[in-house]
């Protein structure tokens, strides 16, 4: 649309513009002016906060009006890497939570997509029911799960009782809190992986399958040799989405456990939140955010490599 509109402008402007240099310059670069509003908007809402955060990470600031930010240079980063045990713990918890939940979600999601990629009665209904958790409000769902996990009144305890399992303390126990949160995350987000993979499956060309049928390939062979390689880019895209979301999961964990018991479920994002908005260490929190940014970037680079088929 931009070039066409530019031509219209130029024709209409010719008699008036005459020898005016500015007008001609504008005419020549008109396409830039169409992009400008969007570029300014993006600068304001994306680039500025990023630059501001990076800048603030070199200061010590408690948010107080009375005391302006004090320049500390790279000290915040030195503190992060010199072995802040809270940071180390948060890194491990994040890796544990993200690694396990994304893995399970991708495996289950691809499996479910396979199941739903064939005709059967009630397919539409099954798909709708399966994506319900994705549509839910995270905080509301988290409150429900928090109640379900209550060791004395929760429904999970009741189920465990029914099956004569030993009593579990779910999110009240440091050993089971992350698996409990993973279960919640898997329940909520597997359908998303399924949806994306399903979209990939539906668009696959059919000739490979016909060829495989003629050659007498088993369904298992078809899945491993044809479906999976073809749909891999889609799966990696879904995994990438889940990975980014999972690393920065906040609401679910904050509402259910607040990072507890102790710091057993304190992920990087919760740790940063506490540093910034509970303890008012804005500079240190900014440094942590910059580190978190690079963690996500590194994770994505790995996934992109996988997608290109180098692994």
């Amino acid at each position: 649309m931009a070039p066409g509109a530019g031509i219209v402008r130029r024709r209409a402007g010719r008699p008036l513009a005459g020898g005016l240099g500015l007008s001609r310059w504008v005419d020549r670069h008109i396409s830039w002016f169409f992009v400008l509003p969007a570029a300014l908007f993006l600068t304001a809402v994306v680039a500025f906060p990023v630059v501001y955060t990076a800048g603030l990470s070199l200061f010590q600031w408690s948010g107080a009006a009375a005391t302006p930010p004090a320049w500390v240079g790279p000290r915040n980063y030195a503190d992060v890497f010199a072995g802040d045990p809270g940071f180390r713990n948060a890194l491990l918890v994040t890796a544990y939570f993200t690694g396990v939940s994304v893995l399970i979600e991708v495996v289950l999601g691809v499996g479910l997509a396979q199941l739903l990629n064939r005709e059967f009665l009630g397919k539409g209904l099954a798909r709708t029911l399966l994506i319900l958790p994705v549509a839910g409000t995270p905080v509301a769902l988290a409150l429900v799960w928090r109640n379900m996990y209550n060791p004395s009144n929760g429904i999970f305890t009741w189920f465990a009782d029914l099956l004569h399992l030993p009593p579990q303390r779910w999110i009240a126990d440091a050993a089971t809190v992350v698996p409990s949160l993973v279960l919640f995350d898997v329940w909520q987000w597997t359908p998303l992986v399924m949806l994306i993979t399903l979209a990939g499956l539906v668009s696959l060309p059919t000739d490979f399958y016909e060829a495989a049928q003629i050659d007498g390939a088993s369904p298992w062979q078809v899945f491993w040799r044809i479906t999976l390689p073809l749909v891999r880019p889609t799966i990696v895209a879904a995994a990438m989405l889940r990975f980014m979301d999972s690393v920065k999961t906040f609401d679910q964990i904050y509402v259910t456990t607040q990072g507890g018991p102790g710091i057993a479920s304190q992920t990087l994002n919760l740790f940063v939140f506490d540093q910034a908005f509970q303890y008012l260490h804005f500079g240190y929190a900014s440094a942590l955010l910059v580190v978190l940014f690079f963690v996500i970037l590194a994770g994505n680079l790995i996934l992109v490599t996988v997608r290109r088929g180098q692994v």
Binding site: I171, A172, P261, F277
Partner: protein, 437 residues
């Protein structure tokens, strides 16, 4: 609609006559509630029952003063986050806010985030003569002063007291415990899990220190020792923690490390807790048969004492002015309205405890509430001290440090080792954040 208009006019006239009548009985002539007419003020508040009452009363306030109030409310944590952001940005859009002075007071005062109420209190043109500051329970009034300045006005009054199941105690021939040792003995007798747990308390990271502090002070401990060191690993503190952890691990519910106020309240409401020591504000809901399985079966008593006597915890939400507001007079009128005798009596009668003496003395209301709870509440409120939150600039951070330690001990880790480690961290934070004397 001329008929309707005439009625309205009549109502307005009647209102004016009444107002005139009040003013003529006042001491210093007529107080001008309309002095900031046409202003709009913005209040940032924690979502709570009192914000519901305020919201319902806003048309009444607007009629009285001609001031429009934008009341924005959020759950506690998002509220604190938003407030910190706005105050640090020196937002002129914010006029007043709710604050827990015993928790964040020092930090806010040091940051210059409280407007000074003292000049307004002393200005007869700004403060209604009917709004009697001497009516506030002294302990609560003074708890909202920092460095000789009145930083806020309390809107609720809370202290932790003992709730116990009178039916179970009577059946077992027990008397309500006066000491923590008696509490432990009673918990042992009444602990019949999973039907009833002997003693239920807050154990969640951010919530545990609030409950634990009662034991700390009852053992003669304190947040800080006399020579300014962390008081959380002294022999008194270790003794207090050992008993607290022992009672909860032996006679508590399985969710003890995750219990926040809602869990404690629910366990008692469901009849699953024989005893709790928590805020006096829950008497109303415990007595409400539509919500409580224990209505008529419980009683209140003073929070049990320890080897070092008993200190009663003080907590309240309060209303403060933003120092960056340009409409402080209008905002101050709202504070006076929300904390007036009439409003506080009204709230009190709906079972929400208030910091005004007059609210507690209403005989008709008094006859309706549980007498053990009433006596304990009145006695404790007059002596209450702010011990439930660490009284430091870095209060939230130290709360977490101590909370994580208690949380770990409730999960079975060694008390002394955890408290020592926490004390070390606490000393580092204090060193960085407390103003040097």
């Amino acid at each position: 609609m001329p008929g309707k208009r005439i009625i309205l006019l009549g109502a307005a006239l009647a209102f004016l006559v009444c107002m005139g009548g009040f003013a003529s009985t006042g001491h210093a002539g007529q107080f001008d509630w309309q002095q900031a007419k046409g202003t709009q003020i913005r209040l940032l508040a924690v979502r709570n029952w009192f914000t519901d009452f305020w919201k319902a009363g806003l048309p009444e306030f607007e009629k009285l003063t001609g001031i429009k109030v934008l009341l924005e409310e959020y759950p506690e944590d998002p509220f604190r986050q938003k407030l910190a952001v706005e105050l640090s940005a020196k937002s002129r859009e914010l006029d007043l806010f709710t604050t827990g002075v015993t928790r964040e007071g020092k930090q806010f005062a040091l940051s210059g985030w409280y407007g000074d109420l003292t000049p307004l209190l002393n200005d007869p043109a700004a403060t209604s003569p009917e709004w009697d500051k001497g009516d506030f329970i002294e302990a609560f009034w003074k708890a909202h002063q920092i460095g000789g300045k009145q930083v806020s006005v309390p809107v609720v009054a809370s202290t932790q007291l003992l709730y116990y199941r009178k039916d179970l105690f009577d059946a077992a021939g027990l008397k309500p415990p006066k000491t923590l040792d008696e509490l432990e003995a009673a918990a042992k007798k009444l602990h019949t899990p999973p039907a009833v747990y002997g003693f239920v308390s807050r154990g969640r990271k951010t919530q545990a220190p609030y409950s634990w502090a009662h034991w700390l002070y009852a053992y003669g401990g304190s947040w800080l020792t006399a020579d300014g060191k962390p008081g959380i690993n002294t022999p008194a503190a270790v003794g207090a923690t050992e008993q607290y952890v022992r009672v909860l691990r032996t006679y508590g519910d399985p969710g003890l490390t995750d219990n926040g106020p809602m869990e404690v309240q629910t366990q008692f409401l469901q009849g699953r807790a024989a005893m709790i020591v928590d805020t006096l504000a829950w008497a109303g809901i415990f007595s409400d048969p539509t919500k409580s399985k224990v209505a008529g079966k419980w009683a209140g008593a003073a929070a049990p004492a320890g080897k070092g006597g008993a200190s009663y915890e003080l907590w309240s939400w309060s209303l403060a002015l933003s120092p960056y507001s340009e409409k402080q007079k209008a905002a101050w009128l709202f504070i006076q309205w929300a904390t007036s005798k009439e409003k506080q009596r009204d709230f009190q009668q709906r079972s929400f405890p208030m910091p005004r003496r007059s609210a507690w003395l209403d005989p008709e209301w008094k006859a309706k509430v549980e007498p053990g709870w009433y006596d304990a509440a009145v006695n404790q409120l007059s002596k209450a001290v702010p011990i439930g939150h660490p009284p430091f600039v870095a209060s939230p951070e130290i709360t977490d440090i101590v909370g994580i330690a208690i949380n770990n001990t409730l999960a079975g880790k060694d008390v002394k080792a955890e408290l020592d480690a926490a004390a070390k961290k606490m000393a580092e934070v204090l060193e960085k954040t407390e103003p040097k004397r």
